[in-house]
């Protein structure tokens, strides 16, 4: 294909996206579109899967059966979200094994938030409220993205997410209406999860190199800073209902902007965690790898069993 032909194909492709048409698997797409989507969708999938780990830590320690079934159901949902997203990425021509390989070798990233530890029960509340809350904002924006399988996965995921956030908030609400110690535990969780949650929206717009292309492909419907602002604006009143204090001395309603002003994030910490030096990066990857390796015999046994059954059917037929 000549350069001119390629350019005109790319223009036609972009025009379809501008008209709000969806791109479906096997249709022609620019190679960069394919690669960018494989990267973003698989990293999104990895985040769902690794995100199960900090919460799994609390299943056996949930304070009541009601909390335990809710937490189990939430974590099972996250496993499902991972699967929807891996499936969507597979339609672009990458195999599941390749994606696991990229995760396990450290080549692929996942959301940095899961490299923070969940040290008290109140963290289950803060994670549902803040971490799922931030994820929902990103994901709602992505329901209108241009790649059909990704957009459909987002619609399904968003339907399931709202229970996650509500169960988290309810955990904190209960703690905040409990003993002073319980309320202090809730405040402590907010103190530790607030800033990492704001970091979930990524670097500042000025330092986010892919923004323009991603906006064109509707991989980004709102910029990092816009989403972060929206998150702060919606979360502050929710903290007030709990009677908790957001750990930011610079947080203040700005009547002129009709938004909250808030303090600057610790970008040094952000990049440290992204580069693998967060509190739990090593532990999370180890847990993933060990689950995969220790499960190998189960996967093999299932294949052996399937082959044996098929063999039997064949013999019966003869």
């Amino acid at each position: 294909m000549s350069e001119k032909e390629l350019k005109s194909l790319e223009d036609l492709f972009q025009a379809r996206i501008d008209r709000d048409e969806k791109i479906e698997p096997k249709e022609w797409m620019p190679e960069k579109y394919r690669q960018t989507h494989i990267r973003q969708i698989s990293q999104h999938a990895h985040s769902e899967i690794v995100g199960m780990l900090p919460e799994a830590n609390w299943i056996t320690r949930a304070p009541s059966l009601r909390r335990k079934v809710a937490l189990l159901a939430k974590i099972q949902d996250e496993g499902g979200h991972g699967l929807y997203l891996y499936s969507a990425a597979e339609t672009l021509g990458i195999s599941r094994e390749e994606m696991y390989e990229q995760l396990h070798s450290g080549k692929a990233k996942y959301s940095s938030i899961f490299n923070y530890p969940a040290v008290t029960w109140a963290d289950m509340g803060a994670v549902g409220w803040l971490v799922d809350g931030a994820a929902i904002m990103n994901q709602v924006a992505l329901m209108g993205t241009s790649y059909g399988p990704y957009a459909r996965a987002m619609v399904r995921i968003c339907k399931e997410e709202s229970f996650h956030q509500r169960q988290g908030y309810e955990i904190l609400l209960t703690l905040c209406n409990g003993t002073p110690e319980q309320k202090a535990m809730a405040q402590d969780a907010l103190n530790r999860w607030w800033w990492p949650s704001l970091m979930m929206f990524g670097p500042k717009d000025a330092e986010s190199p892919n923004t323009e292309q991603s906006v064109k492909w509707k991989l980004k419907r709102k910029t990092n800073d816009e989403l972060r602002q929206q998150f702060v604006d919606q979360t502050v009143p929710q903290a007030n209902i709990l009677g908790l204090t957001i750990p930011d001395p610079n947080l203040k309603w700005n009547e002129e902007r009709k938004h909250y002003d808030f303090g600057d994030l610790d970008w040094n910490e952000f990049w440290q965690v992204v580069k693998g030096h967060g509190p739990c990066n090593k532990q999370r990857l180890e847990a993933r790898k060990s689950a995969w390796e220790k499960g190998a015999w189960v996967r093999d046994a299932a294949v052996a069993y399937a082959e044996k059954q098929e063999d039997r059917e064949l013999k019966k037929a003869i």
């Binding site: 479906e24 096997k26 249709e27 022609w28 159901a73 099972q76 949902d77 499902g80 699967l83 929807y84 499936s87 597979e90 195999s95 599941r96 094994e97 996965a153 399904r156 399931e160 190998a296 996967r299 093999d300 299932a302 294949v303 069993y305 399937a306 059954q309 098929e310």
Partner: protein, 93 residues
């Protein structure tokens, strides 16, 4: 080690509606594909019936040939009721 093959999942959300493609998953055999489909795609009463089909068994039309595949339907307006010019006073037709 062999990898588990890919299956396409189709779900009937309630009787009276057709099965609809809802996604895919990996499983060692059809039985496991059905079980996984139930766990992944019907956790909230989203279905009353599930089909699973090995992805390798699906033959798909080629989107690059969409022009010749679907275009001919465009110039056959006589397949649509509005093609026929009938008097306004004609009722129930």
């Amino acid at each position: 080690m062999k990898n588990w093959p890919l299956w396409e999942v189709f779900i009937r959300s309630k009787n009276g509606l057709e099965h609809r493609h809802c996604g895919s998953l990996h499983a060692a055999d059809a039985q496991m594909a059905l079980q996984n489909a139930r766990d992944v795609y019907t956790r909230r009463m989203e279905g009353v019936s599930i089909w699973v089909v090995p992805s390798s068994q699906i033959t798909a039309s080629n989107p690059e040939l969409n022009g010749e595949t679907f275009e001919p339907a465009m110039d056959k307006a006589y397949r649509h009721p509005t093609f026929y010019e009938l008097p306004d006073e004609l009722k129930h037709m």
